[in-house]
């Protein structure tokens, strides 16, 4: 009986090694031990046979080479997009050291301007209000939690398109004078998206895109009027949600918005800072 048990335990160990055995990824000693076991165990031999045969099916399939799509379509897309980056990339490619030095100089200049409160232009940021954003987020526990849960990373809004699989709609200003304040790249285990914070005085509007857990969805072109703190619609490449009107109402804001074409999701949250 105990011999049976120990044999079964050995078979279980062997079973885990069959896959690397098929691929020739076992160490010499392991391989020899496994081969010795296979000589004496019909069940493991059968298992090896089945695994090899199932894998063989895929290898055969691999030999059927499908014709890839023609290059022309990629070239046309690239020609249509008229990439201006190719010019500066060519220039940057000339000498990495020069490019790095220029980058460092630009960064130093930018830091200097930020410290002096001269950048970004057109915002109300002043030297005395460096931690303003942190203070505001502390007053929005829901948003703070969301940002923490989704490992939010502050980014330049212009970079969002580069960093995401879809093009988020990043408007510099929403109706009612709400101006773009901060852009975050957010992601969890299986999705990525953006979180845009707009501000008008003490009021904040947060537009979170690509929040797959939310149960609601809008149809393309729907007009939506909401006073709650959570809404969702679906969005495609290009403009996703168009916010038409924003009015304060109690602790919330009323949004009138129009959903764009349907693809990925968009989650809109309206919050009033208190």
């Amino acid at each position: 009986m105990s011999q049976d048990n120990s044999h079964r335990a050995l078979c279980m160990q062997v079973e885990r090694k069959l896959s690397p055995f098929i691929d020739g990824e076992l160490k010499e000693l392991e391989r020899l031990g496994l081969e010795r076991h296979l000589e004496s165990c019909a069940a493991c031999r059968r298992e090896l046979e089945l695994l090899t045969e199932a894998s063989g099916l895929l290898r055969e399939e691999g030999r059927c080479v499908p014709e890839p799509p023609p290059w022309e379509a990629v070239r046309r897309t690239l020609a249509a997009s008229g990439k201006p980056r190719s010019i500066w990339k060519k220039w940057l490619g000339f000498d990495r050291a020069i490019a790095a030095s220029i980058g460092l100089l630009a960064l130093a200049g930018l830091l200097f301007a930020v410290v002096r409160g001269e950048w970004p232009p057109g915002t109300e940021r002043t030297a005395g209000r460096v931690d303003e954003r942190r203070v505001q987020l502390a007053g929005l526990p829901g948003l703070k939690g969301f940002l923490a849960d989704h490992r939010a990373q502050e980014v330049d809004a212009a970079d969002l398109d580069e960093r995401l699989d879809f093009s988020p709609h990043v408007a510099e200003e929403l109706p009612g004078g709400f101006r773009l304040h901060t852009a975050y790249l957010v992601h969890d285990r299986c999705s990525a998206g953006s979180c845009l914070i707009y501000r008008r005085g003490d009021e904040l509007v947060t537009v979170v895109q690509h929040a797959p857990s939310h149960p609601m969805s809008w149809r393309s072109g729907d007009l939506v009027d909401c006073t709650v703190a959570g809404l969702a619609c679906r969005k495609a490449r290009g403009p996703g949600i168009e916010i038409l009107q924003i009015e304060p109402e109690g602790r919330n804001l009323t949004l009138v918005a129009r959903a764009g074409a349907i693809d990925s999701e968009l989650f809109v949250r309206a919050l009033l800072r208190r």
């Binding site: 691929d23 055969e60 990339k89």
Partner: protein, 210 residues
Amino acid sequence: MSEASSTPRENVVPLEQAAVRRCQGGEIDGLEFLYGIYAERVFRTCLRILGDRAAAEDQTHEVFLRLFEQIGRFDGRSSFSTWLYRLAVNHTLNRLRRRNRRSSKLREFVRPAEAPARELPDRHVLRKEEADRVQVLLSSLSPDHRTILVLREIEGLGYAEIAEVLGVAKGTVMSRLHRARQELKRRWLQELEGIACSTKMSKRREARKA
């Protein structure tokens, strides 16, 4: 395209490096050369993971457009093919996840139509091509298992390279591949049982008619 396909492999490597540099400089002909070498592999990978030819063609274009955008990040620490496989696999899995999410959302809202009375499939029609059969088998696996099997069995990558493509440890590759093969074997045996069962039933029907 023909430039790459007619050149022996040992001559392709320096040409490939030159093409990568040209591509990093924003030159489209560099991308065209890389497309000539890799489009087939990228397309095959996309097709096997997505299981849909039209989507795979679209995805192949997408991957090469991404390549052109992101080639500046390629620092030569891994081989170019590994880097490209990584780009292709990541973007294809993202697409698959989006598609799965969409279809699960649709399932929530759309009540499924009454299923028609099920007839025994004509296996000569359903399995007229081995390739289709294997693709169906592959598509029945989870995306992770599908991906690792495609990289190993179809693309022939080694464990270390798969680990680099997927961004996991070599030990993880070994255990994931083991589970993927077990699952593949299980589905394959189920399918064989199904064929055997339908053959038995049709024989019985024929016998009854006679």
